[in-house]
């Protein structure tokens, strides 16, 4: 049963991924991306990582896609058709990607993964405890660093996108 669900999700991911990178309309590309992201959240649900799936849905499908849609609205005429690259470039890239894919698959299929079959469920409490633990194997430091990073990203985004008009207004008002 899970197998069928997995295969459906995989098909959705791949189909909408290809659609996203080849679509000629901007907004459709974004929406296809959001479908891909939701399907990935589905995979996470399948393997009992509920917390991670929730994060995926909230941050990625909710936050990032919305951010991209806002930027699309700010800089675009939505009904405008996007240009596509030259055919030669597409073919060369496609071939290169296929070769790369072949390398990856060769590597993957040549290796013996010692898979441990289990059905453990991880609770959110466990994840939280791990994230905030001070002991060896704890992730408190990256947790704090990530918060600093997010602060820096916020400040950076404001500074970069501020533009001249805001500073002129400030100067005039002084």
């Amino acid at each position: 049963m899970e197998k069928i669900i997995f295969y459906c999700l995989a098909a959705v991911i791949i189909a909408f991924g290809i659609a996203s990178v080849t679509s000629r309309k901007m907004l459709r590309s974004v929406i296809y991306l959001s479908f891909v992201l939701i399907s990935i959240a589905g995979i996470f649900f399948l393997i009992d990582y509920n917390f991670l799936a929730a994060i995926q849905l909230t941050v990625y499908a909710g936050g990032i896609v919305v951010l991209i849609i806002f930027s699309v609205l700010l800089v675009h005429h939505i009904e405008m058709e996007l240009e596509m690259a030259k055919a030669s470039k597409k073919i060369v890239t496609a071939i290169a990607c296929l070769i790369g894919l072949g390398v990856f698959l060769t590597a993957i299929y040549s290796y013996d993964f010692n898979v441990i079959n289990n059905s453990l469920t991880t609770t959110t409490a466990e994840i939280g405890a791990g994230l905030l633990s001070y002991t060896a194997g704890g992730f408190i430091l990256p947790f704090e660093v990530i918060s600093v990073l997010l602060l820096a990203a916020m400040i950076g985004a404001i500074v970069i996108a501020k533009g001249k008009k805001l500073t002129e207004n400030n100067n005039q008002s002084q």
């Binding site: 899970e2 197998k3 997995f6 995989a10 791949i14 991924g17 290809i18 996203s20 990178v21 901007m26 991306l33 891909v36 992201l37 990935i40 995979i43 399948l46 393997i47 990582y49 991670l52 995926q56 941050v59 990625y60 936050g63 990032i64 951010l67 991209i68 806002f70 930027s71 700010l74 800089v75 675009h76 996007l82 240009e83 596509m84 690259a85 470039k89 597409k90 496609a94 990607c97 296929l98 790369g100 894919l101 990856f104 993964f113 010692n114 898979v115 441990i116 289990n118 994840i127 791990g130 994230l131 990256p142 990073l149 997010l150 990203a153 916020m154 950076g156 985004a157 970069i160 533009g163």
Partner: protein, 105 residues
Amino acid sequence: MIPGVSIYEILTVTSILFFIGVYGFITRTNLISILISVELILNASVVNFVIINKYLFPEALQGVYFSIFIIAVAAAETALAVSIIINLYRQISSVEVKEIETMKY
């Protein structure tokens, strides 16, 4: 683990998704489309981490934690990329990749 699905199939899926993202990154002419392709690549790597964690090391949770951080970093990076795109749009009124070849020979 997902009963009935071997690790190989899942890893195949993520590889395909990764290369779809690479293809999109190199082929697209719009900056925002490139951003979308980058998201695809990152997501493929997230799934990779999680799957390996679940299939090979079920007791440990490092894969999950790492994936959380990847998602956080991706979010920050997308925010900054969007602000850069908006600033660039103000300068040259376009978000085509063709317009920003100033660092050429």
